[in-house]
């Protein structure tokens, strides 16, 4: 029997696993897919929100502002790509100028540091490419951009390094209350646990209903995006938001921490599992984005994608112990969930302790983590890296300058990836303009070699996403 079982390996589950791995407790994370961070955590705006948006007094307000500060520290410690670039909310008319003032008041009440209302001139000098129609803007210097999947992966890796257990390809199908705990049914062996935490993203209601009376339903809200080439990555310097309006929260335009430009999202109802993009959705995103930044060159688009918000009838996160003692939930985690996750995790540890879990800190907890990112090295450092390990001299992904050394390193870390996209999330290979057209086969080959599995069994991403359907008549290299 383990002490704590966490269901779901998104940013919420992984943050909690990391926080719990500091203590002498047996903790396991159950994730139905072949990697962590493949749910909503990999498909969102990737903004570390400042925290002026949520209503004061809500859980969202508190965790957002706390999370914003924790992330800054965490990213330094665990070597997660993050940049504090600040955000602007643009106002285009009097009504929106009032809204900006309202957001300023809310933010101040929520404890957001450094908020300022800027004049149009100040905005133009900071952002020469925004629309000249701007009247004023709210500036939040504490907002940032992050690699969302790396926030989850880095914490999961560190937790595993410190003894936490990760069960991938493990789908929870039912939970029963037993004497002294719970029995969790899965597609494999059942798991016995004293405490269970539900962090199953858009499936949090389904997991909840396995033990609790039905009190909320997730109605997924889809958001679609454009991702543009690095050539567009410097079009804006801050996260550019619009005022929330009848049309929704507005479409943002922002650099990504990887140097691209992200534009989106829209908001539309969707089924669980529906991650398709539509012509209407993408047109809407383009039209709305043009209000803030008129000159985006969509010829440089390299990818469209969409993510699902875990919307419920409750306009806040649903966090805490449920009606069933020992069964906890981190549910309804829509935006700003990414920002909030590390703060929620710290609080959840306290709630578990209050619920009877005894916590003693490990004396040998090791949360150092360093990732060699070849392209960020100086010329001298590059030379040195290749001298030490010739695999750093071999570029696999040409668009993003990712070396074989980095890929091999990722494949031997505590939570190794098993798919091409798993490597992509850790190294950035295939993220560039050719979208893995040329490095895909090479990455597949390296995974096959390093993990000793047949090349044809290496998936694009999730289980079932096969690439190779057989051999050609002549087979092998000609």
């Amino acid at each position: 029997m383990v002490d704590v079982a966490i269901i779901g390996g998104g940013v919420c589950g992984c943050s909690l696993l990391y926080e719990l791995s500091r203590y002498d407790v047996d903790v396991v994370l159950l994730e139905k897919e072949n990697d962590v961070s493949v749910g909503t955590t990999k498909a969102n705006s990737a903004i570390v929100h400042a925290g002026y948006d949520p209503e004061p007094g809500t859980k969202m307000a508190r965790y957002n502002v706390e999370g914003n500060a924790i992330i800054k520290e965490l990213c330094g410690k665990l070597d997660i790509p993050y940049k504090q670039i600040g955000s602007l909310v643009l106002a285009f008319d009097e009504e929106q100028e009032e809204l900006v003032k309202e957001l300023f008041r809310r933010g101040t009440e929520n404890g957001v540091p450094g908020l300022r209302i800027l004049t149009a001139e100040e905005v133009f000098s900071m952002e020469p490419n925004v629309s000249r129609e701007v009247k004023s803007a709210l500036y939040a210097p504490s907002a940032g951009i992050i690699s969302p999947w790396e926030l989850a992966i880095a914490q999961a890796e560190t937790a595993v390094k410190n003894g936490a257990k990760m069960l991938l390809n493990t789908e929870v199908t039912g939970i029963r209350k037993t004497d002294g705990g719970f029995s969790i049914e899965t597609n494999g062996e059942p798991i016995e646990a004293r405490y269970v935490v539900n962090a199953a993203g858009v499936n949090c209601d389904l997991i909840n209903d396995m033990l609790c009376p039905h009190t909320f339903t997730v109605t997924p809200g889809k958001g679609q995006y454009y991702l543009l080439d690095k050539s567009q990555g410097e079009l804006v310097n801050h996260v550019i938001f619009q005022c929330p309006s009848k049309l929704g929260k507005g479409v943002l335009v922002s650099p990504t921490v990887h140097g691209n430009l992200i534009v989106g999202p829209n908001a539309e109802p969707a089924e669980r599992g529906d991650l398709g993009t539509t012509a209407e959705g993408m047109d809407f995103v383009k039209k709305m984005a043009a209000i803030s930044v008129p000159n985006i060159n969509y010829r440089d688009s390299i990818r469209n994608f969409s993510g699902l918000r875990a919307n419920t009838e409750i306009d806040d996160f649903i966090i805490g112990e449920t009606e069933v003692k020992g069964f906890f939930r981190i549910a309804g985690i829509k935006s700003p969930g990414l920002t909030s996750a590390p703060a929620i995790a710290r609080d959840m540890v306290k709630m578990l302790e209050a619920g009877g879990l005894s916590l003693t800190e490990k004396t040998d907890f090791d949360d150092s983590r360093k990732v060699l990112r070849f392209k960020h090295l100086s010329h001298a450092e590059r030379a040195e890296a290749i001298r030490k390990n010739p695999l750093y001299g071999k570029i696999i992904c040409r668009c993003e300058t990712i070396t074989e050394g980095e890929i091999v390193d990722a494949l031997h870390r505590p939570l190794p990836p098993c798919s091409i996209d798993g490597v992509k999330r850790r190294c950035g290979s295939g993220m560039g303009r050719c979208q893995g057209g040329f490095c895909g086969p090479r990455v597949q080959e390296i995974i096959s070699r390093e993990l000793h599995v047949p090349q044809a069994s290496v998936m694009q991403d999730r289980e079932g996403m096969y690439i190779i359907t057989g051999e050609t008549k002549t087979g092998g290299r000609q």
Partner: protein, 423 residues
């Protein structure tokens, strides 16, 4: 520790090979080819079909055979080759930053440089095809790489979007390997591929070509399951009610090539918006003196034979630059007239021209019975009749030096007009 080369060639495809060989023939002593792949030959290595060299060797070769002939010639020339070597930066002072496992991080200096990086394929993201994101969507070249180099099949029931040559070749290749190719879908009312490929790759295998159609939805959770194809109107917008659903596990994209000019942009070379390649002079010199470019990195070629010819000019000019320094003289520019999408070169220095300059260009639509006119100051200097012209087929005309004296204001316009309207 900098080594000084006469000519450094970036990229060892057919363009780089021809440029290096010609530079060597033209007197350059120290020539170096830098190639990021494990072998020379560029994209030709995966083109195992016939159809290369008809112009240059007057015989039909496969891609690897065509490349092989040039690689063979490298022997005894003293041209240095570094494989598995990635060029990361070319600075305007002609320092090339490159790296490999053996030599580590290098800074190499060249008196002249030739850029021969080729091009890459446009992807799904570049054209924003709506739908799910399952596995099974490949650019045609990526599928070709899997099949012809790695020896793996990538699908059983295939739909191809775009009728570019690579897509057409792959339609045949996959059919021959036992896959069912359900059709080739083309947005435009005409194909972008060579006519011989339409006949030999589609018609001969009864693969339908759907002109004025596009993919409007891709369905599938893990692997492609269905693709929806719609007819488009004259503004290329899908017409509701015309949807056809194909059950397939694979989509190949052959929707265009983009010259690979990240290095050129970085070094500040002027890029032509229409070709996506460097603006070049008659001798393939870019806007930075001593840096030359040729092949697919300048403009996308259909035939490798022209890549070779163009690159020989670049290689020769690079060798001359290394020996004599900068070319001087007046310049005239080539402007795009009616129906013309771009020209290469974009600029000409008459003092550098012996007898004539060859002008390469593409038209923006399919035309028949037209006349190509080269004019200046309102006067037609020379004209060429064509029965048929299409964007998929690169055009070449020869503009004699004897006519240069008639050029007004340093500008020459290339246009295509109907026979009846020709002056």
């Amino acid at each position: 520790m900098e080594t000084l080369y006469d000519v450094i060639v970036v990229g060892g495809g057919p363009a780089g090979l021809a440029a290096a060989l010609e530079a060597n023939k033209s007197g350059a002593q120290k020539v170096l080819i830098l190639e990021r792949n494990r072998e020379l030959g560029g994209i030709l290595n995966q083109c195992i079909h016939n159809g290369f060299g008809l112009h240059y060797f007057k015989e039909e070769l496969t891609g690897p055979e065509y490349a092989g002939r040039f690689i063979e010639q490298l022997k005894d020339t003293g041209i240095e080759v570094m494989l598995d070597t990635m060029v990361l930066e070319v600075s305007p002072d002609k320092t090339v930053h490159a790296m490999n496992s053996q030599n580590g991080y290098m800074q190499l200096k060249g008196k002249a440089i030739v850029l021969n990086m080729g091009c890459r394929e446009r992807t799904r993201g570049a054209i924003a095809i709506p739908g799910d994101r399952p596995a099974g969507i490949f650019t045609a070249g990526a599928a070709q790489l899997y099949m012809n180099v790695e020896g793996y099949m990538v699908g059983k029931r295939v739909l191809i979007l775009g009728s570019g040559d690579i897509g057409l070749i792959m339609a045949r290749r996959m059919t021959l390997e036992g896959a069912k190719v359900l059709g080739c879908v083309e947005l435009m009312p005409y194909s972008n591929g060579l006519n011989r490929n339409i006949v030999q790759c589609l018609n001969d295998y009864d693969i339908p070509l759907y002109l004025s159609h596009t993919i409007t939805d891709i369905r599938g959770d893990k692997r492609v399951e269905q693709v929806v194809v719609s007819k488009v109107d004259e503004n290329r917008r899908p017409i509701p009610g015309t949807e056809m659903v194909f059950d397939c596990d694979t989509v190949l994209l052959s929707v265009g090539l983009i010259p690979e000019n990240e290095l050129s942009r970085q070094s500040g070379i002027e890029i032509d918006r229409r070709t996506n390649g460097p603006v070049v002079y008659e001798n393939m010199e870019t806007s930075i003196p001593g840096i030359f470019a040729s092949g697919n990195v300048v403009h996308v070629h259909d035939l490798v034979d022209f890549v070779t010819a163009e690159s020989q000019r670049a290689g020769k000019a690079a060798a001359l630059y290394a020996q004599n320094g900068e070319a001087q003289g007046d310049i005239f520019t080539l402007e795009n007239g009616s129906c013309v999408n771009y020209t290469v070169p974009q600029k000409v220095r008459p003092s550098n021209v012996e007898k004539f300059v060859e002008i390469f260009f593409r038209v923006n639509f399919v035309y028949s019975n037209v006349v190509i006119q080269v004019s200046s100051g309102g006067e037609v200097l020379c004209s060429f009749k064509r029965e048929h012209m299409a964007p998929g087929e690169m055009e070449k005309i020869v503009f004699p030096k004897a006519l240069f004296s008639k050029i007004r204001d340093g500008k020459v316009t290339v246009s295509v007009v109907k026979e009846a309207d020709a002056k």
